[in-house]
Amino acid sequence: MTDQLQHYIQARRQQKDLLLMTHIVLGYPDFDTSLRVVEAMVEAGVDLMELQIPFSEPMADGPVILRANAEALKTGATVDRCLELSEQITQRFDIPFLFMTYYNILFRRGVADFVGQMKQIGMQGAIIPDLPPEEGADYLAAMRSCELAPIHIFTPNTSSERMQHLSDCSAGFIYTVARKGVTGKDTAFSSELGDYLARCRAATNLPLALGFGVTSRADFEFIRGKADIAVIGSETIRVMERDGVAAVKPFIQGILSGG
């Protein structure tokens, strides 16, 4: 497995004790806006980003990202256009970018071809939430040969034994989900979180990103010292929908201003 992404995260962690990963849906509400949002996020100090290629059946996503997927497709977001924009993004901005999408997007292109294209356009890894390693032999082999990071997910339901197995199949970092449910629901940050994260740490040497439900600086501060990367998913879409693209940068800056 490639260590490039992991090394980036570890080097960055020498400078600050909590990194921030954000997320956009490519082509929502349109491709120009997607580019402007990425620019705003990078300028605000985001450390890495997920670019989601829209899919018509986003089974693991909650209502906000689900609707963004549907809207993007309605306005003509094709996989080709997503790849083109992603290439522009990786050329212009100097942080790691990962794809988030569903397996059918890869499967339809041919898994090896898709992964080869990812490499070519400068992506560093991918999160495919409906592809457990048991179904992903082709994908894992292609990612390995292209030196890209396949990122897997830990959940509170995952046994320690399975966490170790998932870690063996991963590179870059582990995406740890703080609670059950789809993306974008509230999380009660319980005291059980500490025990859960300790279990995650024991199962892997990879950095931990803590996902789902960060909406404020208080949430971000709460994660400091517990995980390596905080993830903001659907909240930036909510901010953009409510207050416009111009509000995204101050929102991210506000979250990071404690550090």
């Binding site: 899919f55 018509s56 059946e57 986003p58 089974m59 693991a60 909650g62 209502p63 689900l66 609707r67 549907a70 497709l73 094709t78 996989v79 569903y102 397996y103 059918n104 997007i105 499967f107 339809r108 939430p129 409906d130 592809l131 457990p132 048991e134 179904e135 897997h152 997910i153 830990f154 959940t155 339901n157 995952t158 046994s159 399975r162 998932l166 989900v177 059950k180 449910g181 789809v182 629901k185």
Partner: protein, 415 residues
């Protein structure tokens, strides 16, 4: 998680990580129940006392004479409680839910038959029940929504996507990833991630087991052809599994041809050439999708067949050639239904009428010594609004207008 559940290249379990332990538990409970003869005995006893099993086969003497070809027999799944084969699956999964110690069930529904069946099961077993139904389907299937709510189920209209069956499935999965500890998802057809296709087929195989035995007892031999409609594919898998090893029985699956081949407005995944292999909703099969892998809108006069995917087991039987796939168009289906009502006094659901339509195309060319068997998977009470529209019945319209006027003036309905 064991790596299993493939039928040739189709099936699998493409599930979010958070559901992995839930699927492990379900697979274990399913395999345990399957290995336990007492479970099947309990299931059969329940279905013979709560539903109407064994359902009979009926010789369609008038239709046989009308076509002058093969002898036509009909397996009467419409006589199940709630009027369709859906009861077989939900009562089986109800027993399994109880075995797993869960207290709440959720389900998706298209036409509403599976939702009603699940709501009856939940009422009977004392489970809490939530049904996800596309907003389009809620609007066109009010009678079923009415009964689900009467039985204590919460019906949630799904406003996302195409607002039909596939979106209801996505929404049910979203509920499940939040509430898997106390909740079982009663998937309604032989689709979805393993073990659902295999488990639903197992419960529905009671149709084929009975039918095979009944044909031998009544007619003295097996049918030459057996027809079933195919939406997700559970009634077809139920009937076909009784005859899979009988090579002399030709199995015919009939999909929704909608407005016909080449129109793009249909739900024929195997009979037409528009579908391709993909992975969605947790499993690999033929989907009606575009070049990028985005699911496309489907069309059928019958909500129950209006679905983008098809059972991975049927996709496999298509590939191996064991099952032949055909499609019947909306118009052919309405005509087949009217003919069956008129000639036999049977009222097949619009879904089931697809199987009748295809059988009627083929029966005249067969000899009177040939025998065909049609699965009447359900009855058409739920379709009364759709059928009345399709045949443009003036007296029905008059009735609805009068009824609406009564409600508008605040008067009580009825007498």
């Amino acid at each position: 998680m064991k790596h299993s559940g493939y039928h040739t290249q189709f099936g699998g379990a493409f599930i979010p990580e958070i559901l992995v332990p839930t699927f492990e538990q379900l697979e274990a409970a399913y395999l345990e129940a399957k290995a336990d003869p007492a479970f099947w005995a309990e299931y059969k006893a329940l279905m013979s006392s709560y539903s109407c099993r064994p359902t009979p086969i009926t010789f369609a003497e008038n239709l046989t004479r009308h076509f002058g070809g093969a002898q036509i027999y009909i397996k009467r799944e419409d006589l199940n409680h709630t009027g369709a084969h859906k009861a077989n699956n939900v009562m089986g999964q109800g027993l399994l839910t109880r075995r797993m110690g869960k207290k709440r069930v959720i389900a998706e529904t298209g036409a509403g038959q599976h939702g009603v069946a699940t709501a009856t099961m939940a009422a009977r077993f004392g489970f809490e029940c939530t049904i996800y139904m596309g907003a389009v389907d809620v609007a066109r299937q009010r009678p079923n929504v009415f009964w689900m709510e009467q039985m204590g189920a919460t019906v949630i209209p799904v406003e996302d996507g195409s607002r039909t069956l596939k979106d209801a499935i996505n929404e049910a999965f979203r509920d499940w990833v939040t509430n898997m500890d106390d909740t079982h998802y009663v998937l309604g057809t032989a689709c979805g991630p393993y073990p659902f296709p295999d488990m639903v087929t197992w419960f529905q195989s009671i149709i084929g087991q009975e039918a095979r035995q009944q044909m031998l007892e009544r007619v003295g031999r097996l049918p030459d052809r057996a027809y079933a409609c195919v939406g997700g594919g559970s009634n077809a898998m139920g009937l076909f599994s009784g005859f899979l090893n009988d090579k002399e029985v030709e199995l015919v699956g009939v999909e929704a041809g909608g407005r016909g081949r080449g129109t793009g407005e249909h739900a024929a995944r195997l009979a037409y050439d528009d579908a391709s292999i993909g992975v969605a909703q947790g499993y690999k099969t033929y989907f009606l999708q575009d070049r990028d892998g985005q699911m496309q809108d489907t069309h059928s006069v019958s909500a129950g067949l209006d679905y983008v995917g098809v059972s991975p087991i049927l996709a496999s039987l298509h590939e191996t050639g064991r099952v032949r796939f055909e499609a019947a168009t909306d118009d052919e289906v309405i005509k087949a239904m009217q003919l069956t009502v008129r000639k036999e006094g049977l009222i097949p659901a619009l879904e089931s009428s697809h199987a009748f339509a295809q059988a009627f195309k083929e029966a005249p060319d067969l000899s009177p010594n040939d025998i065909i068997l049609i699965n009447q998977s359900g009855r058409a009470d739920k379709d009364i609004f759709t059928v009345a529209d399709a045949i443009d019945d003036p007296k029905w319209k008059e009735f609805i207008i009068r009824k609406a006027a009564q409600y508008q003036s605040g008067a009580q309905g009825g007498h």
